[in-house]
C-alpha cells in the first residue's frame, strides 16, 4: 500500500530530486561508457549498421601489433607522474605565498588563476607560436641573451617535445591547484599556528607539523584531480604536436581519438579507452582508499 505520506519523507523527496539528474547522467554518461566497453569487443567503422563481434581481437592488436600503443602508454605514465608532482607543488608554493597579507594579493591571485580559464586549445596555439624555432619568443630571447647553444627544436625534437608541452600544461594548471590549496589554507586553525610559534617552532616546522596535516584532504583532492586530468590529456597535445614528431608525444587519450575519429576503427579506439579507464581506476581507487584510512586514523 503506497502512502502519499511517504512522498513527504526526506528520502522520497531526495529521490524525486535525484531521478531527473540520474536519468540524464545515465543517458549521457553511464550508457556511453558501457557502450564503449561493448564496442571494444567489436569491429565498427562508425558508419555501417553492423558491428562485428571480434572478442579480444582489438585488445590483442593494440597490445601486440600496434606500434604506437606502448609509446602512448609510456608518455601517459610520464605525463601523469609529472602532473601529480609539478603543478600541485608550484600551486602549493603560490598558495602559501598568496595566503600572506601582501600588496595586491587579490590581483596576483587572479593573474595566476587566469590561464585556467583559457581554453586548452588556445593555450596550445599560443605556446606553439612561442616555441616556433624561427620566429618564436623563446629562441629570440635566448638569441638576444647570447644563449644560442640553449636553442632547441622545442616541439620537433622527440627528446624535448613532451617536456615542452608539459611546461605549457603546468603554466595552465598551476592556478587550479593554487586555488584549491588557498581554500584548504582557510581551514588551518590560526590558534594552532600561533601556539606552535609561541612554542618556538620555525616556519618550516609550523608548515610541516601544523599546516600540512590540515591540508591532507586538499592534497588528496588535488592529487586525484591532477591524476584524472593528466591521464586523459588530450587537447593540449592535439593542439601543440598532434602526437608528433613520429608519434613520440602520443598519449592514450589522443591515440584512442585518432583510432576512432581519424582511422575510423572505433573498436580499437574503444579498447584503448577501456585500458585508459582501467589504468585510471587502478591508480585513483587505491589512493583514495589509502588517504581515507589515513584521515580516519588521524581523527
Amino acid at each position: 500500500m503506497f502512502h502519499t505520506a511517504y512522498l513527504k519523507t526526506p528520502r522520497a523527496q531526495a529521490l524525486i530530486l535525484l531521478v531527473p539528474a540520474f536519468g540524464a547522467y545515465t543517458v549521457f554518461a553511464i550508457w556511453p561508457m558501457i557502450d564503449v566497453v561493448i564496442l571494444s569487443f567489436q569491429r565498427w567503422n562508425g558508419l555501417s549498421a553492423d558491428r562485428l563481434w571480434v572478442g579480444l581481437d582489438n585488445y590483442r592488436h593494440i597490445f601486440t601489433h600496434d606500434p604506437v600503443y606502448w609509446i602512448a602508454f609510456n608518455n601517459t605514465v610520464i605525463w601523469t607522474i609529472l602532473s601529480v608532482i609539478f603543478p600541485p607543488f608550484v600551486g602549493l608554493l603560490l598558495a602559501l605565498g598568496l595566503n600572506e597579507k601582501l600588496f595586491a594579493r587579490g590581483t596576483m591571485r587572479a593573474i595566476y588563476y587566469l590561464p585556467v580559464i583559457i581554453a586548452p586549445i588556445a593555450v596550445a596555439t599560443m605556446w606553439r607560436w612561442m616555441y616556433d624555432p624561427f620566429f618564436g619568443l623563446f629562441n629570440q630571447v635566448m638569441t638576444s641573451f647570447g644563449l644560442q647553444s640553449w636553442i632547441q627544436d622545442w616541439l620537433g625534437d622527440r627528446d624535448v617535445a613532451l617536456y615542452s608541452m608539459f611546461v605549457a600544461f603546468t603554466w595552465q594548471n598551476v592556478g587550479f591547484s593554487m586555488v584549491l590549496f588557498l581554500a584548504g589554507l582557510q581551514n588551518v586553525d590560526r590558534s594552532l599556528v600561533e601556539a606552535a610559534r609561541i612554542d618556538g617552532a620555525g616556519r618550516w616546522q609550523v608548515f610541516r607539523h601544523v599546516t600540512l596535516p590540515a591540508l591532507q584532504v586538499t592534497v588528496t583532492i588535488v592529487i586525484v584531480l591532477s591524476t584524472i586530468s593528466s591521464l586523459k590529456a588530450f587537447d593540449i597535445v592535439y593542439g601543440m604536436t598532434g602526437g608528433g614528431p613520429a608519434q613520440s608525444t602520443q598519449m592514450l587519450a589522443l591515440w584512442a581519438f585518432t583510432q576512432s575519429m581519424q582511422i575510423f576503427d572505433f573498436g580499437r579506439g574503444s579498447a584503448i579507452s577501456v585500458t585508459l579507464l582501467l589504468i585510471t581506476l587502478a591508480v585513483v581507487v587505491p589512493y583514495l582508499r589509502w588517504s581515507q584510512k589515513r584521515e580516519e586514523a588521524a581523527r
Binding site: 558508419l47 616555441y131 624561427f134 625534437d157 585518432t258
Partner: protein
C-alpha cells in the same frame, strides 16, 4: 480597424509560413581555405546557385581538415549532415566513406548531365574505382611540383632547372655551398614531408614497382628501391631541408619560403595564389620533380552527394553548376591551373606560373597520387610515423622498409 489589422497580420503570417515551406536548404561541407581567391570562389558558388534557384538557401560550411573529417563522421552516424561534402578522391580518403555507404551512387546524374564528357580524364580516375557505381564529381584536379626562388637559384649559380634527379641533388648541393637550405617542409602535418617520400619512391622504384608498393602488392622489406627511397629521404632531411622542420607546420614552412629562407617547396598548383597573396610571383618559378617517369604527381578532389541528403536532385544541380563551363570560367585559376572542365582554358592574362603548370599537365604521361590517397587510413598513419622517424634520424632506411611491411602484413 483592429479586425482588419488582425486579418492582415494573419495573412502576412500565412504568407511568411508558406514562403518558409517553399524555401529549400542545401548544405555543403568543405575545407577552410587559406587563399582569398579560393574563399571567394566558394562564396561565388553559393551566390550563383541561389541566383539560379530562387528560394534555395545554400550554406557552405568550412572547417579544418581534421574537424571536417570528424564532423562528417559524427554527422553521418546520425540523420543530420550535409547534402554535399568535399573529400579527396583516394581510396583511403573518399573511398572510406564510399565503402561505408555514405556516398550516393551518381551514375544516373552522370548520364543525365553528361559529366563524363565535360570533365578532364585525370580527374575522373577515381569515380569508378571505389567499387560498384560512380561516386563523387570532380571538384578540382591538382598537380604538385617544385616551386623555386629564382633569386636564390641565381645566387647559388644554378642556371638551369634540373631535368634529372641527379641534377636536382647537384643543385641542392650548390645551394648548400652558398649557405641556402634547398627545401622547406613542415613536419607537424605529416603529409607535407610525405610528398618528398612519395616522389622519391617514384624516382627510385619507377612506375610499376611504386604502384605495387602503394597498392600493398609488393613487399616493402624485400624491394630494394623502397629502402633506397628511405635512404634518399634521410639524405634530404639531413643535408638539404631547412632545419628544424619537425616542429613547424606547412603554413610556417610557406612563410619561410616566401621570406627567402629556403630555395624550394614541393607544393600544388594552388600555391600560385598563396605566393601571389604573400610575395612577388615573378620571383618564383616551377618545374616537376624529376622522377624520371614523367608521371604527374597530383590528386583529385571530389564533391560527393551524401546518401542522407533529403534533396539529392538539388545537390546534383549544384554539382552540375559547379563544373559547368560558365561557372568554371568565372572562378578560373582560383583552385589551380587546371579546371576540371575540359572546355575551360586559362587565358593569356594569367601569371607565368600558371602557364608553366599548363605545360606540366600537358606533358605528363599518367599520374601518381599522394601516399595518403593511395593507402587505407591505418596504413597512412603508420606511413607518416615511419617517414617522420626517418626524417628525424631515428630510423634507418632498411628498418623503415621492414616496419612498413610488418605493419601491412599484420593488418586484419
Amino acid at each position: 480597424m483592429r479586425v482588419a489589422k488582425l486579418v492582415g497580420g494573419s495573412l502576412a503570417g500565412c504568407l511568411a509560413l508558406g514562403g518558409a515551406a517553399l524555401a529549400e536548404d542545401l548544405t555543403v561541407w568543405t575545407l577552410n581555405y587559406s587563399s582569398e581567391a579560393q574563399v571567394a570562389a566558394l562564396d561565388a558558388a553559393e551566390a550563383k546557385f541561389e541566383e539560379l534557384h530562387p528560394g534555395v538557401n545554400v550554406e557552405i560550411v568550412k572547417r579544418g581538415t581534421d574537424e571536417h573529417k570528424t564532423a562528417l563522421r559524427v554527422a553521418t552516424g546520425s540523420d543530420t549532415g550535409p547534402d554535399v561534402y568535399f573529400m579527396w578522391a583516394g581510396l583511403g580518403l573518399g573511398g572510406e566513406y564510399v565503402k561505408a555507404g555514405l556516398s550516393l551512387d551518381l551514375t544516373g546524374y552522370y548520364e543525365k548531365y553528361g559529366w563524363k564528357d565535360r570533365v578532364s580524364t585525370p580527374s575522373l580516375a577515381f569515380v569508378e574505382a571505389f567499387g560498384p557505381g560512380m561516386h563523387g564529381a570532380p571538384y578540382r584536379f591538382t598537380g604538385e611540383a617544385i616551386y623555386y626562388n629564382k633569386g636564390l637559384y641565381e645566387k647559388a649559380g644554378i642556371t638551369e632547372e634540373p631535368k634529372t634527379y641527379e641534377e636536382l641533388v647537384a643543385a641542392a648541393k650548390k645551394l648548400k655551398e652558398a649557405g641556402i637550405p634547398a627545401f622547406t617542409f613542415g613536419g607537424t602535418v605529416n603529409w607535407h614531408v610525405m610528398r618528398l617520400m612519395d616522389v622519391l619512391l617514384e624516382t627510385t622504384c619507377g612506375v610499376e614497382t611504386h604502384d605495387a608498393l602503394t597498392g600493398m602488392e609488393a613487399d616493402w622489406s624485400t624491394t630494394p628501391c623502397a629502402a633506397e627511397a628511405f635512404q634518399e629521404l634521410k639524405m634530404w632531411s639531413t643535408e638539404y631541408i631547412l632545419a628544424p622542420f619537425m616542429g613547424i607546420d606547412n603554413r610556417q614552412s610557406t612563410n619561410l619560403f616566401l621570406t627567402n629562407r629556403a630555395a624550394m617547396m614541393l607544393e600544388g598548383d594552388w600555391q600560385v595564389n598563396v605566393i601571389k597573396e604573400g610575395a612577388n610571383l615573378d620571383d618564383f618559378a616551377v618545374y616537376p620533380f624529376p622522377t624520371g617517369t614523367d608521371r604527374l604527381y597530383g590528386f583529385a578532389e571530389y564533391l560527393y552527394i551524401s546518401n542522407k541528403s533529403k534533396n539529392p536532385d538539388l545537390a546534383a544541380e549544384f554539382l552540375d553548376m559547379f563544373s559547368s563551363t560558365d561557372f568554371q570560367n568565372q572562378i578560373k585559376g582560383a583552385f589551380g591551373a587546371l579546371s576540371v572542365n575540359k572546355e575551360v582554358e586559362l587565358g593569356d592574362d594569367v601569371p607565368e606560373l600558371y602557364k608553366t603548370w599548363k605545360e606540366i599537365f600537358a606533358n605528363a604521361k599518367g599520374t601518381f597520387v599522394n601516399g595518403d590517397q593511395a593507402f587505407p587510413l591505418d596504413v597512412t598513419t603508420e606511413y607518416f610515423r615511419i617517414i617522420n622517424e626517418v626524417a628525424s634520424g631515428n630510423m634507418e632506411p632498411q628498418a623503415a622498409a621492414d616496419a612498413m611491411q610488418a605493419f601491412i602484413s599484420k593488418r586484419s
